[in-house]
């Protein structure tokens, strides 16, 4: 094992751990290939097990021979370790640094992790495209499964199985793929049962400066329209950005070639702008010394809530086109792997009650994010503290989860899962013992043999003991479309993530426990009343039978 080479000092005694709102812990610090462990070696006392991959940045400083390492995690927590001995401290710091930035994916913890629990249902098989298709076929026969991408040659970032209009054969798909960036031809994202309208996603068309067209592309998306009906193309770039994309070979659908489609441009930011937004927001949230004006101005300067508003507005628009206008919708930006997926998945949450259940939401993450080729490994490589040069990092997925939280906050009874579930997904997307979020697309995941070599997050989450933590006690299935408000006054900072380590939530947690208690107690009482009524009814009929003769 090459880990041993990286660990110069595997053990230090007398280390002290400082964490926000928790008492300090003194104990022995151990470094393993994947974890930083601090144990006080006393019975029933807490230990710290921190995945190296959760470490975003470290800082070290010395006072005499006492070294202090500040560890900033991807889940936004900041902890501090006091380590006696300068050499030990330097060794520990350099080891953590090396171990938290391993280059090879196959050296990551999921490949070494063995589950300590019994796998009841293998999460790798929980959400198969065939299953989704079975559900779809019950509603419509206009769609089919295509295996055109089974060896990932048509589109490297698509899954091997996609859903396309029945009237379009694989040869057409291949041609369309050459007309869309990265081969991402339009595929089905969501079928709206109520009116049979659909939502699709793709990448931008490669029209270039001379306005190239592709008859097959037009045929493909026109196949989703009802006779005489129009569709909407939602382009997640501004019109200027879309025009500029033509110079680089990209572009947008020309009206002349797509007369039945109306194009709407809704600008959603992406890449480093979002990453900077996250960095600024976290920096602002972590500073307790800010006065009111400074806090508000920093919150504003981060633009995080503006991004939330942009994304939600566009998702509402897409949902509105489907549900209100009764039109089919195609969503794309440039590559179709970031803002596009935010919009389609959020629109689905607005429209589809099933996606607001735990199982449905997991299926949504699996289909609309993992299978759809959102590059998790690139986007989530670093979080808010990293000072290394940004490459492909962006909190695209965190923004999506935040938007979900905003909707959940406005409809607290319409989601089967609670806020904790969203937070867990955020944590695991950035650092995890499970293989689910490794790799950037299905193709990479197959090459890494994740199914065979790692455990799926869903295998763990879906066990009853674990699942229990994520149920929303207020949930009552709501089969309706839920329209969130996107007014700035309605959008709030997601305190559960951004203020989580910055203030005690004791009183709020107690309040939540009491809510659960009231609901549970209500159920108990209902059951009791029903049982007593039954008993009374039985007694009365017994009496009646006795008396009647």
């Amino acid at each position: 094992m090459e880990f041993a080479e990286l660990i110069k000092t595997p053990r230090v005694d007398g280390a002290i751990l400082h964490r926000p709102f928790l008492p300090r812990v003194e104990g022995t610090l151990c470094l393993t290939g994947h974890h930083l462990i601090l144990s006080s070696r006393q019975d029933n006392s807490e230990e710290l097990w921190l995945l190296h991959s959760n470490i975003d940045a470290i800082e070290k400083r010395f006072v005499g021979t006492l070294g202090t390492i500040t560890i900033k995690c991807k889940d936004l927590r900041i902890i501090q370790l006091d380590i006696p001995g300068m050499e030990e401290c330097l060794n520990i710091a350099s080891s953590i640094e090396a171990l938290s930035t391993l280059d090879s994916t196959t050296l990551m913890y999921p490949f070494f992790y063995r589950p300590m629990f019994e796998v009841l249902e293998d999460g790798w098989h929980s959400f198969l495209p065939e299953h989704e298709y079975t559900l779809l076929s019950a509603m419509t026969d206009e769609w089919r499964l295509s295996y055109v991408n089974k060896d990932f040659t048509v589109c490297p970032s698509y899954p091997p199985i996609v859903m396309v209009p029945k009237s379009i054969d694989d040869e057409i798909l291949k041609k369309v793929a050459t007309f869309r960036q990265g081969g991402r031809f339009p595929v089905l994202s969501y079928y709206h049962k109520k009116n049979g309208m659909v939502m699709m996603y793709s990448a931008q068309p490669l029209t270039g400066t001379n306005g190239r067209r592709c008859k097959e592309d037009e045929r493909l998306i026109n196949a989703t329209l009802r006779p005489g009906k129009r569709g909407y193309i939602i382009d997640t770039r501004s019109i200027t950005a879309a025009q500029q994309a033509r110079a680089k070979g990209g572009g947008f659908e020309q009206e002349a070639h797509y007369p039945q489609w109306r194009r709407i441009h809704k600008s959603i930011e992406r890449y480093h702008i979002l990453q900077e937004s996250l960095i600024k927001l976290v920096e602002a949230s972590n500073d307790q010394s800010h006065n009111m004006d400074r806090w508000l101005s920093k919150l504003e300067a981060s633009s995080w809530l503006s991004h939330i508003k942009e994304i939600l507005t566009t998702a509402c628009l897409a949902a509105q086109c489907v549900d209100r206008e009764g039109a089919s919708v195609l969503v794309h930006g440039s590559e179709g792997i970031d803002s596009t997926l935010q919009v389609t998945s959020l629109a689905r949450i607005i429209l589809d009650p099933q996606s607001r259940t735990i199982n449905g939401f997991e299926a949504l993450i699996e289909r609309e994010w993992l299978q759809a080729g959102h590059p998790f490994q690139q986007r989530c490589a670093q979080s808010a503290y990293s000072n290394s040069k940004q490459k492909n990092e962006a909190p695209t997925f965190l923004l999506f989860l935040d938007c979900c939280w905003q909707i959940q906050h406005q409809f607290p009874c319409s989601f089967e899962f609670n806020e904790q579930f969203l937070i867990v997904l955020f944590e695991h997307a950035y650092a995890s013992q499970f293989g689910t979020f490794l790799g950037n697309n299905e193709n990479e995941r197959r090459k890494l043999k994740l199914q065979q070599k790692t455990v799926s997050l869903w295998s763990w989450v879906n066990r009853p003991n674990e699942l229990e933590k994520y149920f929303n006690p207020l949930y009552e299935a709501n089969s309706l479309v839920i329209w969130p408000s996107v007014a700035p006054q309605s959008l709030q900072l997601w305190e559960g993530v951004f203020l989580r380590w910055n203030r005690s939530s004791k009183y709020l947690d107690e309040a939540w426990d009491e809510i659960i208690h009231i609901i549970e107690y209500n159920k108990d009482l209902q059951a009791k009343v029903n049982a007593l009524r039954r008993q009374l009814a039985e007694l009365q009929t017994d009496d009646g039978e006795l008396e009647s003769p």
């Binding site: 109306r262 006065n291 004006d293 207020l474 709501n478 329209w483 408000s485 809510i515």
Partner: protein, 624 residues
């Protein structure tokens, strides 16, 4: 009635506040007390009732092709835009509202015309709900050290103070009289709250007339007596709630603040809360920001910042927290004042007491707190709320700010208040409505002169009758934390914009399902179910059987939910319907009827870009 020339106008258009194209047509009615708007639709026409006294500003905007726009801003932050087809009607309505919303004499206020179905006895009892003498004895006053003084019996010494005042036994009448002459408006130091556990007192007064060098031995004696009245501390704090600069400027006018050299054993401190004019301007800016069409997130945040409103809220909360800490932890007495001692002083004393004493966090106790610190000590409600036509420079949201501070505390401590947000909003609404007599006038003397207790009804009995609406289902008086001194966290990120207050009537931007409402109805249902269980058990025992006990199935909801969520909920629905008081409680508010959802959605869209225009926009751009 003489002000109403046109009692009814038809075909009036109500515009959406946020500028969506959606508007409704209805009829406008003007009554002696209300402005009423009724939609003309066949199904469920909506009605809007606005009390004249709630109207803060009426504006006639420039004539348009469709009619004459009339904008109304209310004291409870409702904003309404009408378009009245004929200019003449608009003019009449406008003039009537100007007169009706701002009467020139107290007799014209609604309270004197409000006659609910109550007997004279009930009305009188309503005024006896709160007795401040009882409240002081609850604190343990009078005791060996503090006593009641009759020095202000007929408002001789200070006409804005109540008649019943408590001072240390050791101060004689001449001392009080002397001290009051050295204090602005005669408001001498007197007891506001007594913290029994530590024998520490919160006292209040107005600024001393110290100028640059004047001193007053009686006043010095007075402060020393207050300090000495606390056996646990050898000093006391004097908290000047103004910014230092303001206090210093006052010295030029012969007023000012205590010179530490002249007073023995005091620790003097400024806490820097701005004056009523700054607060008025600040809230004005908040209202402007909230009403902006097509508001972006960044404009909202920068507007909020530049208004300074949350900064002011933080200043008041910080001062209250400081006060509570000094009294509750250090056990020191504190004398609080500002300029006249009826705005900032009132805010800080009442909030400090609320943090210290769990009683004030109950429904009844909160009334007592308002009655004591706000009403009896002469917070100028008439001037601050603009009850009568008068100096608009005297209007200021001092009480609104207090109510908001309480809300911030309830947000941080969701289980220690007996009441919910609804209670705060109700009280705030009635402070401005002038429907009840409690808040009419500027001080106790004025209210006595007006014979308020004989001519009007009291809000407190109304609130007590309706208290089930204001309950906080998470409150439990048996919790240990309920009885502690609470310390709010005032780090900036804890203070949020209070949507339920400043957008009270803009339903579209609120959460569509109310968590609190649901929990409240469940906890009420639980009470009924408990009774039902007892009743059933009794019947079964009467029939000579033992009531069956239900085995608590811990895993019941889990297992079944895992496999088939829908089935479980169906089942639970059925069971619920068969039990008493089981109303369909989890109603989806808004968003349930698709048509509604559309309405909900559209305004939010149009804020960014109107959806329709946007679609066209997209089209137009495609050709370029």
């Amino acid at each position: 009635m003489e002000h109403i020339r046109t009692p009814k106008v038809e075909q009036v258009k109500l515009l959406d506040r946020f500028g969506s194209n959606k508007s409704v047509i209805g009829t406008l009615y003007l009554t002696a007390t209300h402005l009423i708007y009724r939609e003309v639709t066949t199904v469920n026409p909506k009605e809007i009732w606005i009390m004249h006294h709630h109207i803060a500003v009426v504006e006639k905007l420039p004539l348009t092709t469709v009619g004459c726009p009339l904008a109304i801003r209310c004291k409870d932050f409702r904003v309404i835009h009408f378009i009245i087809p004929r200019e003449r009607d608009c003019h009449d309505i406008y003039n009537s509202l100007l007169k009706l919303s701002c009467p020139v004499k107290y007799d014209d206020l609604y309270a004197f015309a409000f006659h609910p179905k109550k007997t004279e006895y009930e009305r009188e009892m309503g005024w006896k709900v709160i007795n401040l003498t009882d409240e002081y004895s609850r604190m343990g006053i009078p005791n060996a050290i503090w006593q009641l003084t009759d020095v202000n019996r007929s408002y001789k010494i200070c006409d804005t103070y109540p008649t019943h005042l408590y001072v240390p036994k050791s101060v004689s009448k001449p001392i009080i009289v002397g001290s009051s002459k050295f204090r602005s408006k005669g408001r001498f130091p007197t007891l506001s709250y007594f913290y029994q556990q530590k024998q520490a007192a919160i006292c209040r007064c107005s600024q001393p007339l110290s100028g640059f060098s004047a001193r007053c031995l009686e006043d010095e004696h007075m402060l020393q007596a207050i300090s000495k009245a606390n056996p646990n501390s050898h000093f006391m704090y004097v908290m000047d709630t103004r910014p230092k600069l303001n206090a210093m400027a006052n010295r030029a006018a012969g007023k000012g603040y205590e010179n530490e050299d002249n007073y023995s054993n005091i620790r003097f401190q400024f806490v820097g809360i701005e004056n009523i004019h700054v607060m008025r301007g600040s809230l004005q800016k908040v209202s402007e920001v909230c009403g902006t069409k097509a508001l972006t997130s960044n404009d909202f945040l920068s507007g909020l910042e530049s208004s300074g409103w949350l900064r002011h809220i933080k200043a008041v909360l910080d001062a209250a927290a400081l006060l509570a800490k000094a009294v509750g932890y250090d056990g020191a007495s504190v004398l609080v004042h500002c300029s006249d001692g009826w705005d900032r002083t009132t805010q800080v004393c009442s909030l400090g007491s609320l943090l210290l004493d769990p009683y004030y966090r109950t429904i009844k106790g909160f009334m007592v707190l308002i009655e004591k610190d706000w009403i009896s000590f002469g917070h100028k409600f008439a001037d601050r709320c603009g009850q009568l036509d008068g100096d608009t420079k005297e209007v200021s949201p001092v009480f609104t700010q207090f109510i908001e501070c309480v809300w911030h505390i309830t947000e941080q401590f969701p289980r220690v208040f007996e009441f919910s947000e609804a209670y705060l909003l109700e009280i705030h609404g009635h402070v401005n409505s002038c429907q009840f007599g409690n808040f009419i006038g500027n001080c106790q003397k004025e209210r006595e002169d007006m014979n308020i207790k004989h001519k009007t009804h009291s809000l407190w009995s109304y609130l007590l009758e309706n208290q089930h609406k204001y309950l906080n289902p998470l409150y439990d008086p048996n919790l240990p934390c309920v009885h502690e001194v609470i310390e709010p966290n005032t780090v900036a990120f804890n203070l949020k914009f209070w949507r339920s207050m400043y957008h009270q009537f803009d339903k579209t931007i609120h959460p569509r399902q109310s968590q609190l409402g649901l929990v409240l109805s469940l906890s009420e249902q639980n009470k009924q179910l408990e009774i039902e269980v007892k009743k059933l058990e009794k019947k079964i025992i009467e029939l000579g059987e033992k009531p069956r006990t239900v085995i608590k199935k811990e895993s019941f909801h889990l297992v079944s939910r895992l496999s088939q969520t829908l089935k479980t909920t169906d089942k639970m629905c059925k069971e619920r319907q068969s039990t008493p008081g089981a109303n369909p409680i989890r109603t989806v508010e808004g968003g349930n009827i698709p048509e509604d959802g559309c309405k909900d959605l559209k305004p939010s869209f149009s804020k960014a870009e109107p959806t329709l225009v946007n679609l066209e926009h997209g089209m137009a751009k495609m050709t370029c």
